[in-house]
Symmetry: D2
C-alpha cells in the first residue's frame, strides 16, 4: 500500500471555479489511489461570512479574506488561484516567490507579457505549476490525443473548433461585479477570446501542435451595458464573438469560432479533426462520447462511430476509476482527473501539463488573434 | 447491348399505391439496364374522369373503369393490383386464370384462407407473381440481409421492430370511403396488423427466418367513428394498436409493436437485431442510414456506426444506379428497385421475392397474432 | 441559516453500490443545503482488510465485518443496505426491529412474500424507509414526471421501456461469488427481471400508474456456467432475457424488455411515453437529455426537441445545485439527489419515495412477469 | 383544367448533371400541375454512340454531337447547359443570341467578367434564364428561408456553412478528362471554391443577404497529379480546400469552409444560422430534416427540434406533391422542384431565381475569396 503524504492546499476564490476545484480536491481520494492526499487548509474570499460558509460546506479548515496572508502561511504547500483574470499575475508571482506550488485558472494571464513574467517566476523557484485547462482531461478528449499520437489519423488536414453560448444576447445583461466580471474588459482582459477560445486553442495545440499564423475578426454586438458598480451605461470593451483562420505548423488548416450570441447553445465546445486515415469529433454537450470515422474499415461498413467513452478495465482513459460501462460521468470529473494527474506528477516528479509555459503558448495565440482582428492583417504567433 | 423486350402492364388502382407503382414503372428504365422494358398500357380506376387524368399524367396509353375488361385484354402481360385488401383475391384469381403475371399490393389477402387460394391459383398457371413488400429493397435493409447472410452477426438473440404512426388520434377522423378504407374493417380486414405490422413481419422473416409462436394484445382506442358512406357513428372494427412477443425458429426472441397513436411519429418503421458478434438498427425516417455495431472492432474504439448507405461503385446495394456518395435517395426508390428486380428475375427465369407463397407466411403470422389477441393464449403460427 | 443536525449512517456492503451510496452520502452536503448532515459512522463488509481500506478511502469512522453488531450500535440512526438481494430481508427486519431507518438497494426483496414482511416490519416500528430506485432522480426523468403530472401529455396511449446490456454473451463468464452474484439465482432471485426490469417497472409505475396484467416470456441463452465457488459447470437458474406486454390501469399499453444479450448496449435503459398531446423519450446513455414532442407546436415546426436538461435557475429539476447551463452531470448524481430528498423528507416529516411499500408494487409486477413466463398465461398483478 | 403548352428542351451534356436534369424534366409532370410541359427534344454530347444511348434511356427525341447545331434549331425553346464550367459562357451567349431560354449549371462562369457578359447577353434579348443552384429547393432549405422571412429568427448574428468531401485524399487520383474535369483548373476555373463553396454562398445570400468583405485562405494539399490526357504528372492548379470569414451587410458574421480532404464526409453541406430569437441548422446528408431552436418556447422545454420536413397538406414546402408524412424524398427532388418553379415562373411571367444576375453575385464573392487568399488581405466584394 502507498504511503500517503498530505498536501496542504489553499484555494483563492469562492466563485464558480472555487466550487469546481474544491469538489475535485475533496473527491479525488475517493476514486484514485495517490501518494499525495490533498488537505483543504484554507479558503480565501472577499466576504468574511460567505467565505466562512464556503469553508463549512466544503470542509476547509479555515477561512481567510486576505490572499497575502494565505500566501505567507508556512503550512501551505500549494496555492490554487480561482479569481478573475486580472488578479492571476500578482497572486501567482507572490506564491512562486513564497515557494508555493501554483495552480492557476485559465487563461494564464491578461496577455503574453504578464504570462512571460509568471512563467519566469515559477521557473525561477522551480515550483510545480499548472493551468486549469480542464477539458484535456475529459476521457473522450484524452482519447482523441491517444488516437492522434498512435498515428491512426495519419497526416492531419483540418482542425475546426468552436465554443458557442447564448447567454448575453439580452441587452439588459449588465457587465462587471463578482458575477459578471467576464463581461468587464478590465477584469477579464478580453471577451470570448480569453474565456472560451482559449480552451479551444489549448486543446488544439495539445492535439495538433503549434499554430503559426492567424487572420481573425471580432465583433461586439451590444455596444453599451449597465455596469453593476457604477449603475450607468458604459461602453462594452470585450469581444462578444471572435473567429479566426490559421495555419498549424504541421501544415493543417484551422478554423476557430466563439460567441455568446449563438441562440440555442449553452456551452457547445466542439472540435473536429480530419486526418488522412481517420477523423474524430467531440462536443461538450455530450462529453462522454467520441465520434470516430476510420477509413480503414471495410468499404461498405464505413461510418461515423459514436463511441460511448465509459468503458472500465483500461480501454478508456480514466474510466476504470468510476462506475461500470454505459454509466456516464459529467463536467466536474475533468477537474478530478486534473487533480489526480497533478498529484501523480508530483509523486513521480514528472509534472502534469499544461504548465504555465504550456499555457503561455495559448496566450500568444490569443494575443495574435486580437491583434489580427484589430489590424485586419494575417498575424504570426510569437515564437516559443 | 441488351435486346429490349416490352412488358405490357395494367395497373388497377389510382390511389397512393397506384402513384407509387406508376412512378416505379416509369422510372426504372432511366436508371437500370434491363432486358424487359415496362410499357404502361392501361390504368384502371372507379371514376372515369379522374382515371383518364391519371393516365394522362403518368403516361398510360388508356384508361379503364372495369378491372375485368383489363384482365381480359390479350395485350396485357402483367396485372398490378393496388386496390383495397378486400379486392385482392378476386382480381388475382381472375388474372392468374387469364395467364397474366400478378403483382399484388400487401398484405396479400384478408386472411390465410384467401392467401392459400391465391397461391394455388398463381402456382397452378405458373405465372410470375410478387407482393409489394417494398421495404426489403431499401438499400440499408437489403444490406442488413447481406450482413446477416454473411455470418457477421453470428447467432441471433433478439429481433425487435415497430411501426409507429399518429394520424388517427383525433376522434373526428372518419372511417371508410376511398381515402380512409384502411380504417374500415370490411375493406382492410384488420387495422395496424395488416397495414403496418405486416411490413415488419415480412422483413423479419426475410432477415431472421420463420416465427414459431406468438402472444399478442390489440387495442381499439377510439370505439366509434363516423363512417364516410353512412355518415353515422359506427363501431370501429379495426385494431388501433397491436403488439406481440414471439419465438423465432432460430431461437431468438422477437418483440413487435404497431400503433397509430404514437404522437410524434409519422411512419417510424424501425428494427434492431442483436447478434453474438454484431448488431444492426434501421429506421424508415432516415432510411438511407444503417446503424451497425461490431464487437470485432478494437475494444476502445467500439461504437455504433452510422453508415450512410449511399456509396456507388458496388459496395452498397442498388446505389450504383443513382447519384454519387453522400446524396441520399428516398421512399419511392424502394419501388423502383422492386420493379427492377422483378424484371431482372423474369429475364433470368429466377423469380424475385416475395412471391405470393412468401407473403402467405406473413399472412399466417398476422392471423396467429390476431387469434392470440382474441384468445389471450400463446398461439402457434400455422406451418408452411 | 439552518441548524444542522447530524445523521449517523451505517453502510452494509462495499461493492459497486457501496461505493455509489458512499459517494452520495459524502457529496450531498457540498451541493445541497440540508438540515440533516450525514455522518459516515461505519462501513460493514465481509473482508476485514478491504473493509478497512474502504473506510479509509471514503471517510467512514470505523469498519466492521458483522452486520448484526452494526445494527445493534446505539449511535447508528440509519442502516443503508447494499448487499446481494438474498440478504435484504434479514438485515432490514433486524434494522427495523432495532428502530433504525432503513435504506435498501433494489429490488426490495427476492419476492413479494419477503417484501410484504419487510413492509410490515418498517411500518410496525414507523421508521423512515426507502428503496434505491435511483433513476427517478435523474433530472430528465424527474422532469418527465412533472410533464405528465401537469397534463401536457393528456391521455396516455403507450409506454415502452427496455434495459439492454451485453456483458454475459460470452459463455465463459462464470456465475456466483462476490462479483458475479447477479448471475446466481440463489443470491439474486432472478436475472434481468429483478436486476434491470425492476428499474423499468419502478419508473413506469411512478410515471404512468399501476400495471394490471402481463404476458411475458423469459429465456436463458447460456444454459450452464462455471460456478465461481464450486469451480464446476452448473445449470444457470436466472433469466438472461425477459420481455412482457401489459395493460396499465389507465388503459395504456405497455411493452417492456430486458436482456444481457443485446450486443452494443452497455446500460441502455430507455423509455418512451406517447400521449394524446405530447410524447417523451429518454435513455440512460445520454441521461442529461429528454426528447420531447409537442403536438401543440405550430404544424410546420413540430419536431422532437432534444432538451439538454442542465438549466440552473429552477427550470430543470435539481440542476440549480450543480454547475451552469450546458454542463452535464452523470450517473452518480442520481444517488446524491436521492440522499438529498431523503434527508429533506426527514426534516419535513414528509417521506421521500420510493418507500418499501412503493417498491413492493414493483416486486408484485416482477412476480407476475415471472409467473406468466412460467405458465404461458396472462397474469394479473396482485392488488395493492 | 389547365391548357397544357409544350416547352421544347435541348440538354447539352450527358454527365452527372445531364442525368440529374433529364430526370427532373421527365419527372416533373407526374408530380406537378403545370401549364408548360417539357418535351425532351434533343440531347447533345461529345460521343455519338453514348449520346444516342443516353437519348434512348431518357426519352430524348434525338441525339446530337455539335452544340451549335442544337442552338440553331428553330424548334428548340430552352437550352439546358450541363457541361464543364469553361464552356458555359460560349454556349450561353450563343443561346441568348438565338433567343433561347437558358438554364445553366452552376457556377455561372469561370469568373466575374465572364458572368457579367453572360448577364448582359440574356438581359439584352430578354430570354428567361436560370442557374441550377438546386439546394435552394430542398424543402428544408426553402423552409429555412420562410422562417427567416417571417421574422422568427429576429436579428441574425451568425451564419456558418461548410461543404466537406473526402474523395481526393489519395494522391493517385488523376486530374482532367471527362470524369475528372473538376480537378483541372483549365476546365473548372477553381477547385472547391467554385464547385462547393459556390453552393454555400448562393444559399447564404438567399437566406441572409449580401456579403460585404472576406478574408480567406486556400490550400492545395497534393501539389502534382497525373493528367488523364497527357498521362504525366502536372502541377495541380485548383484549391483543395478554402475557408473564409466575412461580414454580411446585415451585420452578421460568416464562416465558410470547403474541402475535399475531410475524411468521413461525402457531401456534407451544412449551414447554421443564429438569430436573436431562434436558430436553424441543416445538412445535406439528412436533407429532409431541419433543426430548429426557438427561444420563445417555455424555458424548461427549450431544445433543438428535429423537424422531419415531410408533411403534406401545405405546411412543408413542395411536400404536398409527393407521398405522405414521414416518407422522405432525396437529392434528385431538388432538381424537380427547380424545374417546376421555372415552368411556373414562365406561366406567371414571374421569373424563378436564381437568375444569371442573382448567380453573378455568388461569382463576385468567389472572386473576392480567391483574391483574398492570394493577397492575404481582407477583400471587398464587388458591388452589385
Amino acid at each position: 500500500m502507498l504511503q500517503k503524504k498530505p498536501l496542504n492546499i489553499a484555494t483563492i476564490g469562492t466563485g464558480f471555479m472555487g466550487r469546481a476545484h474544491s469538489n475535485a480536491w475533496q473527491k479525488v481520494r475517493h476514486f484514485f489511489d495517490l501518494e499525495y492526499q490533498p488537505v483543504l487548509k484554507v479558503i480565501c474570499g472577499r466576504n468574511p461570512a460567505s467565505t466562512q460558509a464556503f469553508a463549512d460546506r466544503w470542509g476547509y479548515e479555515s477561512a481567510e479574506t486576505d490572499w497575502r496572508k494565505v500566501v505567507d502561511r508556512k503550512d501551505i504547500q500549494a496555492i490554487d488561484i480561482c479569481v478573475p483574470n486580472n488578479l492571476h499575475r500578482e497572486i501567482a508571482l507572490a506564491a512562486a516567490k513564497a515557494g508555493k506550488m501554483v495552480l492557476c485558472e485559465k487563461p494564464l494571464a491578461l496577455n503574453t507579457a504578464e504570462g512571460e513574467e509568471m512563467c519566469r517566476a515559477v521557473e525561477a523557484t522551480g515550483v510545480a505549476n499548472m493551468v486549469w485547462y480542464n477539458y484535456r482531461r475529459i476521457p473522450a478528449v484524452t482519447m482523441a490525443r491517444q488516437l492522434i499520437e498512435s498515428g491512426r489519423l495519419g497526416r492531419i488536414y483540418h482542425y475546426r473548433a468552436n465554443f458557442l453560448q447564448d447567454w448575453t444576447i439580452a441587452e439588459d445583461v449588465p457587465q462587471g461585479g463578482n458575477a459578471l466580471w467576464r463581461l468587464d474588459s478590465a477584469a477579464a482582459g478580453s471577451g470570448v477570446t480569453g474565456d472560451l477560445l482559449a480552451h479551444c486553442i489549448d486543446t488544439a495545440i495539445w492535439l495538433n501542435g503549434s499554430i503559426r499564423d492567424v487572420t481573425a475578426m471580432t465583433e461586439t454586438f451590444v455596444k453599451e451595458r449597465v455596469h453593476t458598480e457604477s449603475g450607468r451605461l458604459q461602453p462594452v470593451g470585450i469581444d462578444d464573438a471572435c473567429a479566426f483562420l490559421c495555419h498549424f505548423d504541421n501544415g493543417s488548416l484551422g478554423l476557430f469560432e466563439s460567441t455568446r450570441y449563438a441562440r440555442g447553445h449553452k456551452a457547445l465546445y466542439t472540435f473536429e479533426i480530419n486526418g488522412q486515415h481517420a477523423s474524430i469529433k467531440w462536443d461538450l454537450h455530450d462529453l462522454h462520447r467520441l465520434e470516430y470515422f476510420d477509413h480503414g474499415d471495410e468499404s461498405a461498413l464505413r461510418g461515423w462511430r459514436s463511441i460511448h467513452v465509459t468503458d472500465h478495465g483500461g480501454s478508456h482513459p480514466y474510466m476504470n476509476h468510476w462506475w461500470v460501462p454505459g454509466l456516464q460521468i459529467g463536467y466536474e470529473h475533468s477537474f478530478v482527473h486534473q487533480v489526480a494527474d497533478f498529484l501523480d506528477g508530483l509523486a513521480k516528479n514528472s509534472p502534469a501539463g499544461p504548465t504555465f509555459r504550456d499555457a503561455l503558448e495559448t496566450q500568444k495565440v490569443c494575443d495574435a488573434v486580437l491583434k489580427s482582428a484589430a489590424t485586419g492583417m494575417w498575424t504570426s504567433v510569437q515564437a516559443k
